[in-house]
Symmetry: D3
């Protein structure tokens, strides 16, 4: 049998895990945490570190939260992570992403993946102007 | 010997290729095109189709041009395309990306690549709430 | 209709395929082979070559079998191959991987994928000290 | 200091390594082997296994050698492996790939990488017709 | 709730979308379009541009349509896109790909992904002969 | 001009950055930090968060530090990150990785990337035994 975890629900959670779950719920204003957090809870240090990192990285800054979430979604689509595409699509939608924005974002992700390979195929050297 | 192209410079370009180069220079308000275009010019249909597609995909829409360029840069960093990271970093900078924005963007790309793998490892099932 | 194979079961297998199945079962001390082998059996040369290669590559050496299996699992998680993550998780568990080890391994895979992109984004040059 | 190998040249090679080098030169009708083989020679079991596998996989079959080399090149471009793009470009050229064929191949690789991400973004379900 | 599109069926399609569907059906001689097109139809500009690009890129040229489809399939397998592997496997089969050809193609894709990493691990420098 | 950072050397570093540099040097028993840290220092929050995360993730645990470093190196080779392959090769060597161990590790990474694609190509379903 493989290592196949089940989700850790709130009621089964250790105090340390429940503290993280509570902070997620408070920060995101939701009643329950995503499966991602329930599964990560199988390894509490990873749950804690990931949540703390995400809070820091996704906070409003020079980039606003919606832009950050759009970037996160774009990378998830690019990497083909189905879970992440679904969950970050939800997050972006909650922050204001419309269907038209999503359509344009997916189009950009597609083009970027195309031109990355064109650059690979022709082994294009970096322009001197970019090294300044 | 491999297939190793050199760049097609303006003066060597066929009329069809020069027409594309001129449109790029006009649209981007630059005096010369990037190496990417000079190398793509070895296959004129690809040069033409790629430029037309990029004009359409990167035009202002529900997402503004800077946001689109940030997404393009994020995918390029995620894919490890050095050329694309350099050229789209330049493009984003011209459109208003600051060093702080870049630092935050790279941090998001890093986190997304990390959590994508955490989701893979725990084989997290997609929440029912995301299927609505 | 696409090319969609079904699994080749023992009883339907040609002698050459059954010989490979038997060797897998003998080597791994199992009663039946994984779906991976049953599907590869649709192309007997690939089945044979893959099994022979795996026996060689995964044999005890300077790295012990558990370490090799952990590396295999890490790459599978990194690449997002669901089948491989499940099957190599099972293999690693049989060789002694505990849940804590798995949690730590997934954390390392996540971090490596994160810092790979940070290195991409900042286009970090290789230190001279590494070229010695 | 990192692990940084140098190439193993013919004259420094062990008899086992030289035997592989000779077979490569004989099979490919060349005077010297590529850097790939010289560097793999640092781990003779890998050198031997890789060469034997390649001979088997790339032999004429239902697919002819040029088609197989085009596929190999396409994957190398797709993965962004600069060495592999250069060396398999050379191999494909020797087998008859023209510049026009290369241009068309790179265009296909680009499109495939684009539409793969479009399918990811819209999480397109597999048509029933494909499961027959 | 995430952004989760449903397929746009012919009868619900706008005139612009239906025009693309009709062209696909006419060109491919089929009665209905794949799910890929039905989902892309949620963003009509992307549907249109993708179909026009594919027609151009996959047309007979220096490479024949079957070879182009084999390359497309190889990249899809390499990238792990399940949808694309299924749909391009179907397309290749319609153009003449046999089970033996498919088995050989998958074997090449596997080998290419293996040797790409060997080249990475040993950081093999590009041979001077490839720069000519 | 693109966003192209230079390394932040110790003497130019802000107190916060120097504190991280000092901790790296103390923890790793080195006189200077890698280029990776010098370039990350352009975005001090990322420098700090990455170092703290790495300390936690790479600490001795159920997996010993060498095993963790081998996994990190394997992922770096798999992803084709040249910088990371060089730097983590150095780190693993310092912790006891021999040339033979490295050769075996690269072989495993290659095989895993090969069989991941074979599993993709045949769309192998996950065995029921793995879901227990």
């Amino acid at each position: 049998m493989t290592i196949k975890y089940g989700p850790i629900e709130d009621r089964e959670a250790s105090p340390a895990v429940r503290a993280v779950f509570d902070d997620i719920k408070r920060t995101r204003k939701v009643d329950d945490v995503n499966n991602f957090w329930k599964y990560l809870a199988n390894h509490p240090p990873t749950l804690q570190r990931t949540w703390e990192s995400l809070k820091e990285v996704m906070a409003p800054g020079a980039l606003d939260p919606l832009t950050k979430e759009l970037v996160y979604l774009a990378v998830s689509v690019s990497n083909g992570c189905q879970y992440c595409t679904a969950s970050h699509g939800a997050a972006a939608k909650r922050l204001g992403m419309t269907e038209e924005m999503f359509g344009e974002l997916v189009a950009v992700v597609g083009m970027a993946n195309e031109t990355n390979r064109l650059a690979n195929g022709y082994r294009v050297p970096i322009d001197a102007a970019f090294e300044q």
